[in-house]
């Protein structure tokens, strides 16, 4: 198992390197510059700016310096747009925000979605099943960029219960709407996947055996059915978690939470090379990490899988 984890971590290094080089190349081939302004910049000033950020160096030197900076000092360089911030500061401010509502959304999606799905499967073809399926399909077809404005309209403008945005250090009333908006569609997916797999497990032979032995239904479900039924759900959780972090783009823009999603979009539009690279690397690393976590969980849950 340990060799497996080590191997996977070693593979992550070339993956991230390819990601860095690929993004760098794309960034440099895109037209526009972080320093382009309508008023135009005097050449001497532009030369100074470019020297300050190392843009006067050949491409290979720039990318080498960037990688060396990350490897030796974990330094992602300066922001090209926010003149008094570097990328580490910006990610340091934005990532905890994204992570906080990301984790909450994840928990809500898993708990609510999982419960809904399992209840629906256990009470197959009853009103509870129809209700759960109805809710999850409804939630699935409602993308967060539609849900977010509706939430603000209802809870902020009409009812006046919750603030329509902001973060204020993560006070609970600022967290609720972003979590609902972000978790809903994931919750729906989890509900559908867990319902389907639970149904499948419940009709399998070993469950019939367990019931034939006279075990109470509760025991059959929790002791025997749950674990195998969760397998497909777990394989979905890794990408789902990373999806929530990247999906934060919409949440950040609608709820002005100050999370990294907003930085990501703004950096692409402003050609803030430093911030764009930093967040890409961060999200890339997260994707690699969570895929690994899912694989480990798999091995733990499914006895057929051994690494």
């Amino acid at each position: 198992m340990l060799t497996f984890i080590l191997k996977r971590l070693l593979i992550a290094i070339p993956v991230l390197l390819i990601l860095i080089v690929g993004t760098f190349v794309l960034m440099y081939t895109a037209p526009g510059s972080p320093f382009a302004t309508e008023r135009g910049i005097p050449p001497a000033v532009l030369a100074n700016l470019e020297a300050q950020y190392g843009l006067d160096q050949p491409f290979i030197v720039q990318i080498w310096r960037y990688i060396v900076g990350i490897v030796t000092e974990f330094d992602f360089g300066p922001s090209f747009i926010y003149r008094d911030q570097d990328v580490n500061d910006l990610i340091g401010q934005g990532f905890p925000v994204t992570l906080t509502y990301g984790v909450w959304s994840f928990l809500v999606a898993v708990l609510v979605g999982g419960t809904l799905g399992i209840l629906a499967a256990v009470r197959h073809n009853t009103w509870l099943d129809y209700l759960a399926v109805g809710i999850s399909i409804g939630a699935q077809v409602l993308p967060n960029f539609v849900l977010a404005p509706i939430l603000v309209l209802v809870f902020t403008l009409w009812l006046g219960w919750l603030p329509g945005g902001g973060w204020q250090g993560g006070q609970w009333e600022y967290v609720i709407l972003p979590v609902i908006a972000l978790s809903t569609s994931f919750m729906a997916s989890i509900a559908r996947i867990s319902r389907a797999s639970m149904l499948e497990v419940l009709t399998s032979n070993f469950i019939r055996t367990a019931r034939a032995k006279g075990l109470p239904m509760r025991r059959v479900i929790f002791r025997h059915a749950l674990k195998p039924a969760l397998l497909p759900v777990i394989s979905y959780l890794g990408p789902a978690f990373v999806g929530m972090i990247t999906g934060s783009v919409v949440i950040d823009i609608y709820f002005s939470t100050g999370g990294i999603g907003q930085f990501f979009v703004a950096s692409a539009l402003n050609r803030d090379y430093g911030v764009m690279m930093g967040i890409t690397v961060l999200l890339g690393a997260l994707t690699v990490l969570f895929n690994l976590v899912v694989d480990i969980l798999y091995a733990w849950i499914d006895p057929k899988i051994r690494y």
Binding site: T37, P42, P149, G165, F263
Partner: protein, 541 residues
Amino acid sequence: MSRISRLASSTILAAVLCGPAFAQETHPVTGEALAEDQTFQYRLLDQFPSIDPQLVEETAGGHVARQLFEGLLTQNSDGTLRPGVAEEWSSEDNQTWTFTLREDARWSNGDPVTANDFVFAWRRAADPATASEYAWYVELSQIRNAPAIIAGEVGPEELGVRAIDDRTLEVTLTQPLPYFPQMTVHYTFMPTHQPTIEAHGANWTNPENMVSNGAYVLDQIAVNEFFRLVPNPEYWGADDVIITEITGYVINDVNQALTRFQAGEFDMMDDLPAGSYPRLEEEAPDVAHSVPRLCSYYYAVNQSESGHEALQDPRVRTALSYAINRDVITEQILQAGQAPAYNFTHWATADFEMPEIEYASWTQDERMERAMELITEAGYGPDNPIEVNLIYNTSENHRQIATVISQMWRPLGVTTTLNNYEWQSYLEIRGNQNFDIARGAWCGDYNEASTFLDLMTSNNANNDGKFHNEDVDRLMAESVAAADPGPIYTQVEQILAEEMAILPIYHYTQNFVLDPTIRNWPMENVENNWYVRDIYRVAAE
């Protein structure tokens, strides 16, 4: 009723009667009852890249800098000049200017604001090492040696500005400039505190480090979320400042922002959703406002070597301009009080007399008729069609206007390909003249017509169409030294109209919503500069 309870009830009664009198203060000048809550909140579209006065390069940062810093001169609510740090200023020849600084101007750490602080800041703005994107503004103000400093040929200490003593600043210009005092209002010319910048480098603008000299100081900042300013007790006019806290919220999505404004989460937002103004104005006329804003919207026509052959003919350009029905654009697309434009300089520019442009007075049918004649004369028309490529940057309004105009050109036999780019790419493409016709807008950097007309001189970096006319170049050079440049500006505008250097489309308005309890908002400041030190909140009626 027992004695005790009678006593208690009379005490309560007295408290009720006197209470409001204690709590409610009135405005010292107008006598209006002030609200207890004197905070002001507003919405920003985007996080400002910097609030360092010499590095600010866009509107959002500019608004914050105006609260944090005070330049030599500042503005009244109507945009007229008033003393800031300088209490007096004079010049005999409009070329050497002397500013006398007030004695009680202080930095937020208690240090006096001296002439050297301005010398430091101005040199810093011009110094290429600072890499200020507004360095050109120093050059524009004609301060001696600015171009050479910006080009890196001489050191910043050669800049034509010196401190005669702590309270006297002398500025030497390369040529007389009667409106120089006006230019000192700009944030690029606000003072900065040398010891703070030297101690903290780029981080001097962090709340824990920042030292400023305006009515407010920076209290807190969360990037892409909000920032907060609180009054500066060291400010010389601190006693007259009423608003006790300013909060700016960064809200990217404009519809979301409007919903939150309507839920009462903040007091002011500009940049309203496209097409929402008429509805807002109808629903709440005391909340929605439309005021002139010193920006002109136009189409630049590429007249450089890479330009379209047909567009080099002034008759073709004129035909295109005549064919544009500006009323359709202002009344049906924009619908927020914008003025149709037949000249470049915004009509509300100070001391600017609108030139008489012939085609402005015609009906659209007359213009269209003349356009057909001109295009035929030039050898084009439906039988010999022209294909042009029109570029614009991402925005719903730009897209609609471009679509409508391309339809208006169709009868002339002009087929238009529309190309949309996002801003950073757009600047590069337009700056390299990779277009036939490009959407442009210019906002005045100071309230004087030359801020617009300079754009039409051959060497101006923002003359994206590369319009070239020796008379315009000569006249604009003469205007700088002229006692009354007005007639010269009229003449330039007339040449621009004859040559159809650009296709003027409309003059901007600033449309915004403002909580009606906020008073003394500078509605008449056409540069849309606002200073929270002058506003206040009245008690709701």
